[in-house]
Each structure stands twice: as C-alpha cells, then as structure tokens.
Point group: D4
Chain length 254, copies 8
C-alpha cells in the first residue's frame, strides 16, 4: 500500500465505506511499527521479541556494566518476562546478585536467570546435547540450559569424541531418538560430521575454543564444521552454546 492508497483508505474510513476493523486488517502489521520496547536511554529492551521470535529478550552479559544489567533485568521482570543473562563470569555474577538477590546463577554455563514466570513445556521431542571432550562442557551446558529455559526436554551425552569412536557408537540409540542434536566440539571439530552421518535428524554444530596453537581460538573447529562432508550440518559461532540452544529450540518448538 502506498501513500495514495493509504489516503484513499482513510478517506473511505471517514466516509464510513470501510469499517475500522477492516481498515485494521488492511493495514496489517502496522503494529510492527509500534514501539514494543522500553527505552532506558542506554538500552531499548525488546518487549515483543518473544512474541515475534519465540525467544525472550536476552541480556548479553559482556561489555555491560552491572548497573546496566540490573536495569534491563528489572525492566524485563516488570514486564513479566524471564530475564536471561549470558556470558557472565562468576565475579560479575556475584556483584549482580548483591543487587538482584533473586537471580539464579549457573556457573558451569556462565548463565544467570531472573525467573518471574514458570517455564512451560514447549518442545515436541528431545534435544540431545553431545560434546567431544570434558573441556567442551561449559559450552554444552550453556546450550542445554538455554534449551531447558525455553521449555525443552534436554539430554546430555558428554565426552564422546572421535578418538574413541566406540563411546559414540555405543550411544547410537540415544542419537537416533532425539528430535535435534547439538554437537559441541573443539580442536579439529570432527564429531558433527560423524554424528551427521549416523542420524537423520537435524544436527547443529558448535565449535569451541578448546585447543591451542593452530586451533586459533576455535577457528579450526569452525572451518571443519563448515566443510562437513555429512550433508545438512549447520553451524553456530565459536563457543555459542546459547545460540545452539535457541536454534534447537526453534526446531523442536512446533
């Protein structure tokens, strides 16, 4: 609809030729233009994000002051939304809890949650989070915990890297039973390819920064996963357990 069309529509509304309810429908998602966010000056928490994307507004914990996190979390809580803070190290979490005692911190996933609303089960199946090594666990936990917060049933299968393939093969039934699999691996990042060749369900690969030297902070694993010979693997950012959890949740939702 262009300006002239809009002018015409308004004119016809005025003339009573078009009902308000029909005009609303014709204008469709003008609501998209409605604010739908709070304005704190330094931040504009998106109050409609869950409505649009099914994922609540999340507070990225790095690079913000404690005061900023507190203000955003409280604003979300005031709106009846559960506030999730990611990538929060223990020191900052402690400082935060002084200010917001109701906040629950999960150090092994570096996540904090200010839960004001109970989490309703949302997924249709199970999300399996598999990891290659013990050092990948924090990222795997971030994925698992995120998916749980969004109402999904989550299983964990850790330390099944390809150097000891039988550990994975012994768990093939669990792989096959999942609705989605999140595969977390550092170093050479080979596990998603092997998993992807064994199952028919969606596989989300999460490279981690576990490794040294030519791992280049997880770049080696990321590139490997990008080039997987097993068709249909998709990849998220290095150490992005949160993103994998959300992606798995989007798949499992409907």
């Amino acid at each position: 609809m262009n300006r002239r069309g809009l002018e015409e529509l308004l004119t016809r509304v005025r003339r009573g030729e078009v009902a308000v309810v029909d005009a609303l429908a014709a204008l469709g998602d003008l609501a998209f233009l409605a604010p739908g966010y709070a304005d704190l000056g330094f931040a504009k928490p998106d109050l409609h994000r869950e409505l649009r994307t099914g994922v609540p507004e999340v507070i990225y914990g790095e690079g913000k002051t404690i005061e900023q996190i507190v203000a955003i979390a409280e604003r979300l809580a005031a709106d009846g939304q559960n506030a999730l803070v990611t990538r929060l190290d223990p020191d900052r979490a402690a400082a935060l809890r002084v200010r917001v005692p109701a906040l629950a911190y999960h150090p092994d996933a570096r996540l904090a949650v200010l839960a004001t609303t109970p989490i309703a089960p949302a997924g249709e199946g199970t999300i399996l989070v598999a990891s290659a090594g013990t050092a990948d666990q924090p990222v795997a936990e971030e994925a698992a915990y995120t998916a749980e917060l969004m109402g999904n049933a989550v299983e964990r299968l850790y330390d099944v890297g390809v150097a000891g393939l039988h550990r994975l093969l012994a768990n093939r039934e669990r792989l096959a039973a999942a609705r989605v699999i999140v595969v977390v691996a550092g170093m050479e990042g080979a596990l998603p390819s092997v998993v992807g060749g064994l199952v028919a369900v969606p596989v989300i690969a999460v490279p981690t920064s576990v490794g040294y030297g030519a791992s280049f902070g997880g770049l080696a694993a990321l590139l490997a996963m990008m080039n997987s010979c097993a068709a249909g693997i998709t990849v998220v950012n290095v150490d992005n357990g949160f993103g994998a959890g959300v992606a798995a949740s989007r798949i499992n939702r409907r």
Copy 2:
C-alpha cells in the same frame, strides 16, 4: 556388549536358549558393521545413507572424472536410488548427458539428477528460500531444488536484501508461514539477522561468494552470519545451497 557377552550370547544361541530373532535384536545395529556400500575401487557409494540419515548418497561433482560420475550414478540407479550430482558446470553436464541421457540437468542450480524413483512428499510444512540479491539466485536455487528433490514443498522469495527493507517487510506473512527459512546472502550477509529477528521458525543462513574485494570470496558474509545478533541462526558453508536444502529438509521431515 563386550566380547565375553558376545561369546555368552552365541553359546546360548548354540544351546537353543536364545532364539535367532532375539539374538538379532540383542545385537542391534550390528548391521551398522555390514558393508552397506558398493565398492568400485575408486569409490564406495554408500547404499545405506538414506536409511541412516534420510538423505540419499549424493555425488559431489567437482574433482571427479566424467567416467567416475557415470559409474557411481549407474551403481546408485542399479540400487534403485535417485542419483543427485552437485556443483556440476554446464560443460561437464553436457559431457555427462552424452553418457547418461536420462540425466536431467538444472543449470541455474548446477545440479543434475538421474531419477529412477518418484519423489514422495515428505515434509510437514513449507521451506521458504529467501535471497538478498539476484546474483545469489544460483545458490538459492540449489537449496530450493535440493529440498524439492527430498519431497519438500518449497517457496522462493528473491531479491529482498536489506538495502530496500520494505521489500522484505511486505512479505512478512510468507516468512511467518514457513516451517523453515533458508536465507541466502552475499556481500555483508545481513539478511539472516533481520529475518531471524522477525520470525520464530528455524533460520538457516547461507553466505554466498557474491561480492568482491574485502568480501574475500564470501568470508565476510560467513563471519557476519556467525555473529548474528538474532539468536538461533545457524550457518552453512559459503555457496552451500545443497547443504542448506538438506538441513531444511531434516528439520521439515518429521
């Protein structure tokens, strides 16, 4: 089951204490160890891949001789499988069709298909393939066509890049109606972030090599998509329309 368990099981089978059918069940996916592949010497087409992963064996068209492609395609056809050849340029496709006239070539997706079995509808919803610019179309077509070959209903929404945002916003209903969205974009690769912020369904981002200079063959788009601020975007390799089509199909399958 370890070696001793196996010995015991076999002993009990011998003694008639365990029926063959129960022993088979107990041994479970020993079939995994069964060949399940043809051995052509230079290649071992995986005849069980579709059974395991839902995706038929696919012939990666680059770096193979025409003779090799012919041999693999014919072997798959002999097994009653549809053979898909990816990344096949027109010249090689022409040479291939001289040898295998039944092969259908789709130049705008650089795909060839030797179809011996009708494609059965498999997906639960619609896969929407969106692209940022016209030059991204071949990759988008590869994704769309791959998904169709796997039995999915596919819609296309092309040239809706962020420089003219209204083109995308005008099609928000189509975005929201899909079960999965594949977003194909080169240059700065911003489209998946915008789409991911508008919808709740899974979004698979495909960077393309469209661009020049500091696009570094699609690296810029790939990195952008990896770092998307819209939670839950997953990414495949540069120009990997095929992989995105398979991933979308895995999601849409069940």
Copy 3:
C-alpha cells in the same frame, strides 16, 4: 503508534474528528510499508530508493545474466529512472548493447548507463578524485563517473602517489578547494593519510587491488587506510569506486 492507537485514529477519522490529511501526517512514513518495488520474480527493483536515499537503484553487474540485466534496466526505464550498471566488463557490455542499444558504456570505469532523464546539478561544491598511480585509474574513473551521474561537479587529479610527494604538494590548492576528496590508492595505500593531514574537508579512501604478493588483493591498502594516523579518514571496499562516488555525493548533496 501501536495497534490500539491506530484503531483509535481510524475510529476518529471515521467519526470525522480527524482530517485525512492529518491522519496521513500522523501515520507518517507508512509509505515505507508500501511496496515501492517492482517484482520480476528473480529481482525486485527498488523504485523508491532514490526517494529514500537520494541514490537511484543501481544494477550490480556481476553474477547476473544478460537477460536479467536487460529486464531490470527496462523496468527502471519504464519508471522513468536512469539505470546504472556497475562492474560490467566489455564483453558483457557488448552483449548488453545488442539488446539495449540506447545503453552507453564507459569501459574505463566499467559502467553502463541507460539514461532516460537528464541529470540535474545537485552538489554544492566540487568532488576531487585523486589517485596514487596510473593503474588505479579504472577505480578512480568509476568514482568520478558515478558522482557525475548524480549531478556533482567532479575534478580529477591522477598519479600523485607518495613516492613523488612534490606532485601532490604542487596541487595543494586543488585539494583545499574541494568539498570532498576521494583518494584512490593501491599497494601500501598511504596517500589518504598524507592528504588527510593536509586538508580540512572529508576524505574518502578507496583501496585498490593494484599490487601483488603481500598486497593480498588490496587488503594491505585497506588495512593501511583503516589505520590512518590522519584523523577522520573513512574507507570503502577494495576497488569500490562506485561506493566512494555515492558517499561523496551524499556529502556534497546538501
């Protein structure tokens, strides 16, 4: 304005409490939601781009078929817009002119233009395009020509690289007289820093792929320009004369 506000507004329009013209103003740029583009299936030429950004829709010439370029150009012409095609090599330009004889091709800038509307002078001052070496000329011409198509007065100052500094210093008056300076340089990309230290006007740096070895296709020049010690230099993509011309035009416009 949210949905309720909109409903209220429409209701008041219907009641005659608000005039159509005032409702239009209140709804502001709802026109943004209006299509404003043509839908050719494979492409959606943005017919409102010039209205929004002052820059007409431009056809990126790489990765499109001749047929696609023709269709878009003709659609723009039908809308009374001048169609500009960038990054078009001579062979494709020749093929294009067979189909659209009215198209003018400028090989030294790799640009083609289908002009249906005379270009009106638009800028307030002069845009000076300076280049470091003769091999940088095609990129410099792309910038200069683009700016001229947008109604700007353009001057050229070529081959004034820092290895012979007096060539630049002898032209300082011309530098100082410009409203904007576009500086095009390959290899070590030092020229923008020197120019930026001499003048007070905006300086747009364009790295080129001129060079070899550790120039990495223009990356060396790009990084140098990014790190300029002369405050206030801004940079565009490698070989992106077009973008520099547009940026200069945006500055010079008002």
Copy 4:
C-alpha cells in the same frame, strides 16, 4: 615554481620589480615548510594541525608514558589549544589528573580533555550517533563526545540493532533529520546497511570489538560494513569512535 623561477623571482624582488607582499603570495604556502610544530625531542606536537585540517592535534593515549602525555598537553595548552587525549583507561587518567588537575576525564568515552579555549559551534546540522547494542556504547560515546568537542550538535540513539528492527524504524524521523549519521555496531555489523538503505545523508560505520569467537575482535563487523549492499557507506577502524567523530565533523563543518 622551480629553482630558476625562484631565482628570477628573488632577482626581481631585489630589483624592486616585485613587492614583498606579492612575492609572498607567489610563494604561496611556503608556510607549509615552516616548522609549525614544537619539538620536545620524544614528540613534535603539530601546532598547525587545526589550521590545516580543522582538527586540533590529538594525543593518542596508548603507548605513551604519563610524563609524555603531560608534556604534550601542557605544550598545546601553552599554545592556547584544547588538548584531547584518546584511549585513556581510568587508571592512567587518575595518574594524569594528579599531574594536570584541570584535565576533565570522561570514563564512558575513555577521553580526557584539557580545555583552555571555549568550544565554538561549528557545524551546520546535527550529527546522529546510533548504536546497535548497549555494549557498543563506549565507542558511540567516544564518537559523540569527539564531535561535541569540535563544536557540533550531537544526538544519540542507542540500542537499535537489527534483531529488533522496530526500535530503529520507530526512530526514522530522527535518522532523516540528521546531517550525518554515525552508526556503531559490533557482532555482524548489519545496522549501517539498514540505516544506509533508509536515508539520504552520509553514513559513517564504526565496527566494534563487541562479540566473541568468529567476531575476531571486530573483524567480522568491519568486513560486513565494507561489503554493505547499501551504496555509499564509509567505514573507520574497529572501535574508532574518535575517527568517526572527526569524519562526521569534517562533513558537518561547512
């Protein structure tokens, strides 16, 4: 003018055929060769920089000792110039203020100022500084504060990243009203492309190091901005709010 011309000119001056004032004009900017700088041994503060470029000499705060910063700042103050110190962390700022109590420090922009001269309004319009996320704020503040120090009117529009597009669209009037827009974004750096497609004014993109993993310290955002599909975006270095402020000021000046 070459040596012979100079000899002739001097001869004519000697003969009284040319007035001193005319000879001065003919020799033009020989003043360029004049020192115009202080020599502190370890540094040569450029006392003419503002005359030439409109930007006062600025002290890059990293890699200098407190003593060096003090000496340069005092030398500039002695010359009646406002001294600006960039990239100064709080600890060093505190150490500096012990030595120069008149220095004002702005921690959210990591800038210090020793103001000896009042700032005169210099710009013709408004500079709008927009940021994608809250974590980008320090860089945005550096840009905004720098522009203010140079006499410009500055507006701030923070946390309008593309994952919640309506926050940006709701502020389109403010975007359209600016003379220049500085867009600050980390992660995938998509915001400048979207802004660039909405407005006709110059857009300066500032990538930030906000992000992790494949953000590679801001490289992802930088590359994305370089490859923007919105024509005419220019880019400065990662986290270079200062440079963006200066560039915006150069544009807004005249």
Copy 5:
C-alpha cells in the same frame, strides 16, 4: 557381514554347524562395540585406548576443573593405567597434588604423571629431540618426556638453530644414529628443513610459539615446516610436544 549374513551365522551356531570360537573370530572386532570406557558423566575415560592405539588415555589438562582431573586420573589408576596430564601449569599442578599426592609433576614439560605401572622399554631405536633455541625447551621436554613415558630411549640436542649452523653440523653423527628425530623450532622454523636434508630417518617437526610480531603465535613456523623443501618432513600443531612424542613413539614401536 550384513544382517542376513549375521542371521545365517547365528542360525548355524544354533544348529551346531559353527563353533562358538569360530563365530567369535568371524564376528571379529565386534568388541569394538563393547563399551571399553568408564562413564563419569562429565567424561568417558577410554579404557581401551592403549589396546587399540598403543597410547594410553591422556588427560588434556586445560579447560578441566581440578575435580574433573582428579576423578579421571583416579579412574584410570583404578584400571591399572598410568595417567598422564598434559598442559598443566604449576599452580594447577600444586592444587592437584594436594588431592593426589602420588602425582609427579615435571614443570619444565608442564606434565604430571600418576604412575601405577612400571614403564616397559618399547622402542627399537633412539628418539632424538632437537631444538632450535633455548626458549623452545619446554616444548622439547614435553616431547622427550612423553616418549620416555611410553618406553622409548630418548636423547636431547638443544639450541642448534640455523643461525649458527656449525652447532648442528658438529652433531651430525647423533642425528644419523637416531631412529626418529623430533625437531622443535619457533621463529622461522627452518631447522627441520636443514635436518631433513641431512638424514634418512623420519623427521617430525614441531613449531613453537616462540617469537613475536609476524610469528603470529607460531603460525610462521608452522607454515614454514609445512612447506619444507626437504621431502618427507611431517608436522604437528604449534607447541604440541606431546603429539610429537607420541608420533615418534608410534614410529619407534615396532
């Protein structure tokens, strides 16, 4: 063997036509499917790794908590395996020894060992570990110590970099006498090429992160070794003395 073959085999076992022992042989390494690992939840120590690969399960020391290392080491010890912990810094080693006093720590190799079984001599010849500079020593010691733990005789030849070639040439007999040579070098990584051109035995090159600037954390040395003009050099990861020790041991074993 496929499922039908397996069914037939079991049927014949049942009928007494095939002996259990022969069935076992026919089923071969079904034991591969046997667990062969302990499941600690967060980790699955591979108890069969030494049986399969000749290398005992090793605990990668980075990214694990002290508790996790203790649990894995004790589980391995319970299985009668020597536990080796790599990349363990002195602080964490001290914390570990509080919990497991029997653990021996070798700070110059950043290795800890919980030895429960005496090491039996296993190699056929001598492994020579050569290093280019004194700063490469920790990596060289990691290689040497790892090889010794696997039962090999090891010699050390340190600080024989190519800037003083006579130091290497004076030790050519020692080079020639080895069964395998591990060459450890940072900076330009030239030593393996020179050694590889002098001897006929296998040469394993270990790049180190010794260097600065354009060494990029060992990338320069790694690339140099990859491109060695001396045929037959193989390379391990930057600073991966452990991997080189294992590789040398694999070669020397049989």
Copy 6:
C-alpha cells in the same frame, strides 16, 4: 676439530705418524663438504641426496621450463639415478615426452618417471594409503606411487570418509595390518582423527584442496588435522601426496 687440530693432524700425516685411512676417519664426513652436486648454472642437482636422505633428488615440476626439466632429468640419468618429476600437468608432460621419450607419465598422480635403475624392495611392511573421497584420489595416488617408486609395498583404500563410517570400520583389519597409514582427506579433514583413534601405527595426514568456500583451498582440512584429538597424527602440506609418500617410506625403511 678446529683449525689448529686440523693443522696438527696434517702435520702428523706428513710425518707419517698418522695413516691416511685413519686421517680420513678422523675427518669423518668432510665428504659433506664435497660438491656432490652437478652445476647446470640454473640448477644444481643434488647427486648425493639419496646417499644422505634415502630419497633421490626429485624435480619439482612447477615453475620450471621444459628445457630445465629435460636438462636436470638427463643429468640425473647420466649419474644412474631415477628421475622423478612431480606436479606435472598433462600438457607439460606431453611436451616433455617429445624431448625424453623414455619418460613414463602417470596422469592420475601427475608424476613422471625416467627410470634408469630397477627399484629394489626397501620397506619392512606395508604402506596403506586411505582417502576420504573420490576427489582426493589424485593426491592419494601421488602418495602411493611415490612410495612404490621407493621400493615399498603399498595398498590403497579409497572413499572411506566419515560420513559413511561403516565403510571404514569394515576395513579395520587392513588398517591394523599396515606399518604406516597415509590418510588423505579434503573438506573437514576428519578421517585421520578417526583412523588415529583406531590403530597403533604411525598415521600421516594429507589435507587436500577438495572443497569450496570456507575450505580456503585446503586450509580447513589442514587446521583440523593439526588439531587432531587423536594423539600422534602428523601432517604434511595441502595436496602433498609426494611428501607423505616419502615420509611413509622413511618410516617403513628400516
């Protein structure tokens, strides 16, 4: 021995106090200083390389003119050495055979051989060359053929990539029976990690440039192999089948 020692030795030889044969022994490998090479001006073929390293002088086929290759090959033949030319494409091979008809060309390995001496069996066991995909075959053949030319028994196991793991597992006996395994893989390069976790013998990984997009010409596979979680994998350059063949031969020799 220093100069004075040498002078003393010579004096004692002169005096008859030391026999010539003993002086020769004392001077040891002075032969190292002997030319041992032919001087063709543009090249200095190393006639002693086989004596020193067990690997004959090899002609790197790229970047040389046909005339240069002919001259070097003939010089080696004159010395009774077999001349091997690597990385020789078919066109250049044909041009070469016009000049040296006795040259045998193996197009699938891009190798040519001018054999003047029969190849004697040299290895103690078998070298197994495994490849992940059919497109990796040329590199695998280069490795296999090189090893055969050096007198080794070679087996081939092609197209056993990890997307269809059973193809590899079905051949575990062949893996276990080898003295050395060369594993050739492009794309994500995961195969060596899996093989390395199954066997105890040395594993040499060869990344190939098979792949596209973020494979970056084999870099992804190279990095993956460098970061293998299976201990003791060593790696050669991308597409360097020749180097892997030589390294395997060095291991298998003694």
Copy 7:
C-alpha cells in the same frame, strides 16, 4: 623558516642586504616544491626521482594499457632517462615492441628497457643474487637485472636451497666476498636465515610465490623471513626482485 622569516628574507633581498645566491641557499630545497614531473593527465612521470633517490622512475607494467606505457616511456626518453618497465608478460611485451621497437625485453625477468643513456658503473662492490631453487629464477633474474641496470656488478648463485646444504657451503667464499647478498627463496624460505648466519654483509631476503597449498602464494616464505633467527635480515615483498635489486643498489652505491 616560517612565513615571517621568509618575508624578512625577501625584504632583505629587496634591500640588497642579501645576495640572490645566498637567498637561494637559504631557501634550500624549495626546489622540492617545483613540479619536476611531466603531466600526461593519466600519469605524472617523476622526472626528478633519480636526482632524489638515485633510482630512475620505473613503469610498473601491470594494470596499464599499452598506450599508457608507450606514452610514459616516450616521455622519459624525451627527458633523456632510461625507461624500465617491470612485471611485463611476453604478450604485452610483444604488443609494446610493435609501438616502441627500440625497447629490449628480457623474458626471464619480465622486464623491458628503453635505454637512451649508457649505464655507468655505480657500485663499490659486488651484489650476489642467490636463489634456493630453479623455480625462483625469474625473481632472481629480476633482481639481478635491475641491479645491473643501475650500474652494479652482479653475480648469480642459483639452486642452493637448504635441502642440500653442501651446495651452499661449497660457495661460502662467494658469499663472503659480496658487498650485499640478495637471497631469493620460496616454499619455507629458510635460505636467508642460513646465509645470514654465515656472513657479515647485508642480506636482503626475497620470498617467492613458488610452492602450493599452505605456501599461500608466498606468505609462508615471507613470514619465515620476517622471523629469521639470524639477526639483521631485511625482507621485501613476495616476488619483488625489482625492489631487492634497488635496495641492494642503494646499499652498494656509496
């Protein structure tokens, strides 16, 4: 001298208090500001470059049209300067010679020369150009030829790479006798380190793009040379024989 000083000087010249010749001396290198270049529009050949830098203006052959090269070469010739064209492939050289028959082309160095003035001996010693392999010869010849054109005595020592160290050691006297050594090497670029450890004279390292895979077009050699453990090696761009020849000439000049 600042503006006031200049005014004073001119006044004193006018008054006859200062002689013209003394004023000229006082004004020193004002000649620097004199044009000293020809203006061809697309190029500004620097006619004073040899006077300033001792190196004549050189025509970079890539990215220029034949017409442009002809025009610049003829302009230099008109000024009595020898014109050197670098990086000129045989096809373009042939086209050039049709237009300028007096031009001499040296295909093995990809250089062309239009000599109008005899070359006078200029150096104090000998420049030795050493190369690692035969494929490095074109770059080595470019260096050697360039140095000869500037009047230096040049020696060549080719194919002395470190895989056969004795070839280099046998020529140590020639290394020691040079005034400067240019060392040209591709692949791992180790030769300059070895040479630098043997001699006391300046060593200029030239990486070449000889190699494949992880040589990344010469980057591996470049980084290796940058990180040389032999103190005092300096490096030029990949394949930049010309630059090395000029640098050696600058050293040898005085």
Copy 8:
C-alpha cells in the same frame, strides 16, 4: 673436494708433496666444522658468531629463565664478549641484576648489556633512526641502542609521522645526510614510503604494534611497508628494532 680428493690430498701430504700450509688452504674453511660454541646443555652460545657475521651472539630475553640468561651471559663474558639481552621487561631485568650486578639495563629499549669490552667505532657514516609517533619510541630506541652497541654513530628523529608532513620535510637535510635510515612506524606504516621517495640511501622499515582494531598487532603496518611504492624499501619484523639496528650496522660497516 670429495672423499677421494681428500684421500689423495692426505696421501700427498704424507709423501711430502704438499706442504701443511697449502693443505690447510686447500681444505679451506674446514674450521667451519670446528665447534666454536660452548655447550651448556640447555644452550649452545655461538662463540664465533661475531667472527662470521660481525654481530655478537645475542640473548633473546623472552621464554628463558633468569638462570638460563645468567649462565649464557656469564659464559659469553668469560669469552670476552659483550652480552646483549633483548626483549627484557623491567621485572625480569631487576631479577637479573640481582644475579649479575654489572649488567646495565635500558628500560626504554628493553635491552640489557653486560659490557666487558669497550665498543670500537665501526661504521662509515651515520645511522638515522626516525619514528612516526611517540608510541613508537621503544622500538626506535631498541634500534638506535643496538646500532650504538655495534659501534655506529646514531641520530634520532622522532614523531615525524605523515599526518603532519612538514615535520618531516623540515628535516630533509638530516635524512639526506645519513648513510642508512631506519624508519619506525605503527598504524598505517606510511612513513617509510614517504622517506624512501625523498632520499637515495638505504631505508629499513620497522612496523610496530602501535595501533588497535584492524592494525592486527602491527600486521597492517607490515603489509603496507611490504607494498611500498617507493622502490628499495626493506622491512623487518613487527617491533624488531633490534633487527633493524643490526641490518643498519651491516650496511654501515664496510
């Protein structure tokens, strides 16, 4: 000379047909094979390095323990050599001086010296060390101090970066008067190109890690210097003032 030639020579010495002195000459630099180094186990200080290369053995201060540095320095002192320790931070320097009080530390160059022999003037001219900014001073001082330790006359010209070109131009006489110029610059690294275009003497460029964001630790400056359009610039590693000092000394020596 090969083994047979050596045998013959020795035989003739024995027969008295060749004098010892002549045999010595014929054997030439067999002394090269003489140890000429001390063996401390962990290190082999090269006692002949100064004889061969004119540069004394230098202790690279990073990655060594205090004990190792002490032992090497004392061993060099015992040999009458001045020991230079580079890249030594103040804390380690203090620890070192506790052990070796005679050691002099120069914090602004991060160098320590244990001088046991007076430094004799060695150079023929002056080495000028120029730097672009104050933050580059530590690297410039390292170069200057190193050159002084080797007996050269050194001048310093600091803070003459290209953003204020007149500071450099005002010192052109000093540039022209030097025998060698070391140019130290971070950020965009443009200064060496400008200097190289002004003078005829050798120019050694030293990139520094001064900068942030896309400077990538000095990579931007390094690449710029590598690609200098001023012919004959040579480059050393990032922050390698020491290497530049040695290179300048090698040039100035003879």
